[in-house]
Amino acid sequence: MIRFENVDKWFGTLQVLADVSGEVRRGEVKVLVGPSGSGKSTLIRTVTRLEKIQSGRVSVDGADVAARGLDINRLRQRIGFVFQAYNLFPHLTALGNITLGLTKLRGLSKAAARERAMEELARVGLTGKAHEMPGLLSGGQRQRVAIARSLAMDPEVMLFDEPTSALDPEMVGEVLAAMKRLAAGGMTMICVTHEVGFAREVADEIWFMQAGRVIERGRPAELGDKATHPRLGAFLRKVEQSLGS
């Protein structure tokens, strides 16, 4: 469904993606791990052209996302994106954040949009917060509203860019739970995260990135095997240790 072919990207003279190839099939959950600055976020941002690439090809269902004729806004409606910093619209209520896309893009009436938005808020357990401004919500609640905002557009794919990295530890669980439910429901997902437990439990495949390259890939079950995945295994153990301490 999503295919990266020899993707290269530079910020000035710094190469942030180097010859990245890979495929995400419908219904699959890929988890991207690696040290910061390794290009994980940049890679998923290329899928909806939040970042342009200099060479190679990123395609969704065979359509090149860089193609001139492509309706990029229509593509973006099909792909949900969840940010580390939530990026809720602070001048709109939780409900207003969700209805904006529904009324402006889906052409829903206000009442229909409200009903749809309430369904999504219920799914992330925030019915009671519908009329709160984002500034009054906790980090975990904000991120769940952000997830609901994306899901309301009925995306075929969800991209998560370190959705729990800005959260206090006690709020990580509620966001991961929402993501796990989504994965269990068959959603195609690419998640950039340092949550090793989540990766082991939910990922179909983990990609380990370093210096702009995907240097190892493996199924969670294979990660104990030091011979085939030495660096990925070592990285995951290190992350687990630092979080455990």
């Binding site: 909806t48 593509l75 973006r76 990026n87 619209f89 893009l105």
Partner: protein, 236 residues
């Protein structure tokens, strides 16, 4: 001073109205408000053009803003005063002249305030809107401008304060505003310019100080209810 005020308060307040044109403080406030209101759409247009990825929009807008900001207001007043009758084909009154000049002048300054407000928004706001699939205009109208204008409210009140002070230049083209009223009083009394212009100064000060305090109050409110990110106040 009190006696002057007692005898002339109505002239200070509304000019010769109802026996002549409305003027005084009422006209000063009216001109400042209407100028700011009328320049608002132009200011938003200029700000968006300056931030546009397209050179053909960005360059002319930048040139306009820099030109206007590089010239004194009194020049615009003279230009409007002498040229607008040629363009319109009839004599143009002092008030209209001043309002036209102020709209041009304030649009440039206000556009810089709005531009700062837009640039001050976290990048993620536009990215989130873009990621939903929203195009440029819905993003601008529903996400960018409401936040930018809200954050810039204190600066806009400051701009209103400087506009009030600038209306006093209307005196040179006989726009019937507060300074003009004071000059009329002075011409009648002849011997008490210090007192008359003292009243004028106090009136401007009271008005502007009250508004500046309002701006500070709004600024505190804004930084309070959005959890940080205080609005940037550009000094008038």
């Amino acid at each position: 001073m009190l006696e002057i005020l007692q005898n002339n308060w109505l002239l200070f307040l509304v000019g010769q109205y109802p026996h002549g044109p409305i003027g005084g403080l009422a006209m000063t406030l009216f001109m400042a408000s209407i100028s700011l209101a009328l320049c608002f759409p132009f200011a938003i247009g200029l700000a968006l053009a300056r931030l546009s990825p397209y050179r053909w929009l960005r360059l002319p807008a930048t040139a306009i803003v820099h030109t206007v900001r590089g010239l004194p207001l009194i020049m615009f007043i003279f230009w409007t005063y002498f040229f607008s009758p040629l363009v319109i084909g009839r004599a143009v009154g002092g008030v209209e002249t001043l309002v036209i000049a102020l709209v041009i002048y304030e649009a440039a300054y206000l556009s810089e305030i709005i531009r700062a407000g837009i640039e001050g928004l976290p990048k993620g706001q536009v990215e989130a809107a873009t990621s939903l699939g929203l195009r440029y205009w819905p993003t601008t109208i529903k996400v960018v401008l409401p936040q930018a204008l809200h954050n810039m409210l204190p600066s806009m009140v400051s701009q209103f304060v400087s506009t009030i002070k600038e209306t006093s230049l209307g005196y040179v083209i006989s726009a019937h505003e507060l300074t003009f009223a004071a000059a009329q009083v002075n011409n009648v009394l002849l011997t008490q310019p210090f007192e008359v212009y003292g009243i004028l100064a106090l009136t401007y000060f009271a008005l502007c100080f009250a508004l500046t305090s309002l701006a500070r109050f709004i600024e505190r409110r804004i930084s309070g209810d959005r959890g940080g990110t205080p609005g940037v106040t550009i000094a008038a």
